[in-house]
Amino acid sequence: MSYVLSVSPDFSPDHLSGWFIFNTWLQRRLEEKFHLELYDDFESQRGDIQSDKIDLIYANPYDAAMLVRDKGFKALARPSGLSDEAIIVVPESSPYQSIEELKPGVRVACTQDPDVNMMGMIMIEPADLDRSTIEQQSAGSYVLVAKALLNGQADVGFFLKDAFDDLSGLIRNQMRVLVESQIDVVHHTLMAGPKLQALAPKLLDELVAMNQDDKGRSVLESMSIKGWDAMASEDTEFMIDLIDTLID
């Protein structure tokens, strides 16, 4: 039997090789064939999830509900200490000092990252703004969001906090953070599909022990992850419920 591993398309390109290394590690440890399938956008990945082509996925929290409730996936583990937080940024010279000052028609640069966009939209609600009253500009990456801000093409940008912190200091210093989410409980999750359930307990043991040997640690390092924490099914349900309250 051969399985397909996939990664939420919002992963940082810096970690691309890390996921290939992880795929190799996975095959050795489980003595099973895995193929890493990557996607440029969420839509095409969701299409393949719908047609049951993916068995193991490092999923965006926004997709977790669909994976668990509609496609029978189970969460195995989350990256230790990593949660998804969003920030809203303006160019350093912007007149805006707080969210409440934003006005209808404001130009918002963002990626297609669904959880960051969800959190970003929630953080502009105090200014009475929603999808219908902003001008949303979708960019292919966070670097391009920064570019849109610095070129004056956009007034504010939505960033994944980690992606913003990964920008060069030179770029970051030309921007100013208006607001930062502190939600803690929304995070990516490694999830196993129905075909993989028999192997799931073994896989989970391997994941949790991964940071205990040199080989495992170097794989984790290439993915910029400290280790994996097992997730109880109630932890997953809680996160799904929480996201449910945030989506209208």
């Binding site: 969210i99 409440e100 929630i122 953080m123 609600e125 105090p126 200014a127 009475d128 607001v179 930062e180 989410s181 502190q182 939600i183 803690d184 409980v185 349900e237 809680f238 419920d241 929480l242 449910d244 309250t245 945030l246 209208d248």
Partner: protein, 148 residues
């Protein structure tokens, strides 16, 4: 002042006219059992309510009930969630120190294996216009309830 509850009970609570602003970027999260007794509260909940975590766990959610809130708002909440649906609304909450804070709240039923296990509520920062409109509406509803 005396706070009257739906079930006819009441409690004496301190109420002062001071608003504590909702913190930017945070969500206030709590979970209850099927009757509204708190089973989980996050740090933002503890910070904004002014209660200690161990005072909150096991307490009924009406511990936050502000006397300016009309009973009909909570009836709508319970009718909605007991029908298995999601409820959205603006709520003025009472802190332990008597001050208040406004939230935009969402409450959903927690279904596990087809069974209702409790409810989750997540609050976020509301806009000032929505707060002002809600305050006006609730004052009218309250006046109607008092004369009914």
């Amino acid at each position: 002042m005396q706070i009257e509850y739906f079930d006819g009970t009441s409690r004496d609570a301190l109420v002062v006219d001071r608003e504590v602003p909702y913190p930017d970027g945070k969500l206030i999260v709590s979970r209850t059992d099927t009757k509204g007794y708190i089973t989980h509260a996050n740090q933002a909940f503890v910070d904004m309510s002014g209660y200690k975590l161990d005072e909150l766990i096991g307490a009924n959610h009406c511990i936050l009930r502000h006397p300016d809130m009309p009973a009909a708002a909570f009836k709508d909440l319970w009718d909605t969630i007991q029908a298995g649906k999601k409820w959205h609304g603006y709520v003025k909450n009472l802190r332990k120190d008597g001050a208040y804070y406004w939230v935009k709240a969402t409450v959903i039923p927690n279904i596990r294996n087809g069974q209702l296990m409790g409810y989750t509520s997540v609050r976020r920062k509301p806009s000032r216009t929505k707060v002002d409109a809600s305050a006006k509406l609730y004052a009218e509803m309250l006046a109607g309830e008092a004369s009914a």
